[in-house]
Every structure is written in C-alpha cells, then in structure tokens.
C-alpha cells in the first residue's frame, strides 16, 4: 500500500466553488472516492478521504463516520437537511456542497494532486 499523498483542502475551496455546511473542516485529504451506492462506499472508501456524492440522505453521515471519511462533498448543488448537517457536526465530519457536477469536481481534485484508493494513479 502506497502512503497517501496529502492534499490541502483550503486552497481547493475556490476552485470547487464549495460552500462549507458544517462548522468543522479538516486541513488535509488523503484521497478521493466517488459513488452514490452506500454499500459500495462501505467497501471501498479509506480514512481521511473526500467522498463525492449526490446522495444527501442521513445514512451518508453514518457511512462516512463508520469509514472515518474526512469530508463529504455534495455535487450538483445538493444540500442535506439541517438535521443531517447537525449529525455530521456531532460526528466531527465535514460537509461541503458545490454547484459543479461530480465529474467536474473530480477533475478539480485530480488537478490539485489528489488520488484514489491506496494513492492509485
């Protein structure tokens, strides 16, 4: 297993046109995983990752907490209900939203040097 390349989150916020929904936000990201199927995320995500999804159900917070995911980025301008944001804050999970599509947001993250599972290119 490769050591993940850590990427700073703060400089990416503008490129993603991201809005921070939770109070907390981590400094760095270890990688990225993209899926809208929660069981698939349970199987593949790794700690410290940013997860891109259009799902805004509260189960997203449960899955992210179980997998120690650092950030969930909702794409296409999607926003979860306030209760979901509050649950994420309780878990210490950061939630962001972007008007970009999942593909566009992924492109920005890749350009910034972020990689996938086990740092795979």
């Amino acid at each position: 297993m490769k050591t993940p390349i850590l990427v700073q989150l703060q400089p990416l916020m503008a490129a993603l046109r991201a809005e921070q929904l939770t109070n907390n936000r981590p400094e760095t990201l270890t990688g990225c995983y993209i899926s809208d199927l929660l069981s698939d995320v349970l199987a593949h995500a790794e700690p410290g990752m940013i997860w891109l999804t259009i799902q805004t159900h509260r189960n997203v917070v449960s899955v992210a907490a179980t997998k120690d995911i650092a950030v969930v980025l909702f794409t296409c301008g999607r926003k979860p209900y306030a209760e979901v944001i509050a649950e994420a804050d309780e878990e210490g999970l950061a939630l962001l939203t972007t008007p970009l599509t999942t593909f566009e947001a992924a492109g920005k993250l890749w350009e910034a040097g972020l990689r996938g599972k086990n740092g795979h290119e």
Partner: protein, 174 residues
Amino acid sequence: MFDQLSLNILDIGMNSLAAGATVVRITVIEDVPHDQLLIRIRDNGRGMDEKTLRDVLAKNASTKAGRKKPIGLGLALLRQTSEMCDGAFRIQSAPGKGTGVTASMRLSHVDRPPLGDLNATIFALCAVNQDADVQLHYRSGDQKFHFSSQEGKHNEPRRTQETQGKGAAAGCAA
C-alpha cells in the same frame, strides 16, 4: 443501499440469527397489478425494547459488540431504498416477541434495485445457523414458491410421493 435487494435481505436475516432466532421467515411478494414489491423478514428472536428500537430508527444505532462506533446500517439501508422507491418501512418488535421488518417499494420505480440472487441469500443464512428454520415464501402473480431449511430434516430419509404433499410438508416442520 445495495445493488441487489437480496443483499439487504441477507443483512436483515443476519440480524435475526444474531438475535437468537430459531425461525426466520422471509416473504417476498411481487404484486404486478398494484405495482408493489413487499419484503418482510419475521423472526422469533429476542426482539428489541422500545428505547433500542427508537435509537435504531432515529440514530442508526447498533448494539453489536466490538464496534469502533455504535453505528449499524443494515436496517438503515433497507429503509432508505424502500423510501426512495415510494414505499414504506416498518419495524415491529418487542422483547421476547420477536421482530418483523417490512419494506415495500414501487416495483416499477427507476431506482429500485433488482431482487438479485435470493438463493445465495437463503443459502448463506442456512450456513450461518444450520439449526435455525430459514424459510422463504415467494409469490409473484400465480407463481408461488416455499422453502424451509428444516423441512424433512426430522423425517425418515426415504419418503414416498404421497407423503410429500402440502400437508406433509407442514407436518414435518413441526
């Protein structure tokens, strides 16, 4: 959410076995005229008290030992799928009374996952507890299928054609 409903059913059936159930009855009904799919998993396990059930529904709570975080997703994922597909989700449970989990969905909903490999789910549950009676009751239109993992187990090894009728099947499960 899983990409096959049979994986949700496996998850819920595993809950039943973990709760010490000796009978796990899985019902799947595809009702095409009403565009409804009904999935029910009923067990005679230890059941949940009111507080546990409330925490499970409101916080995805888990009582599984050895978890880093007390979060369970088996029920939550089935609930999400059923609600996403215009259905309803219900849990009935009480200590000593067993648990029933019912999930419905609109059969034709575009996001409804396929049933998938129900056989593999039944097989896996039978393998986990060979003494439990794992039952499948499947109905789709006029098509019916019943399976019980204990059926015939306590019977004499060689059975004649006549004793295998419906009545005999019920008799040997008892």
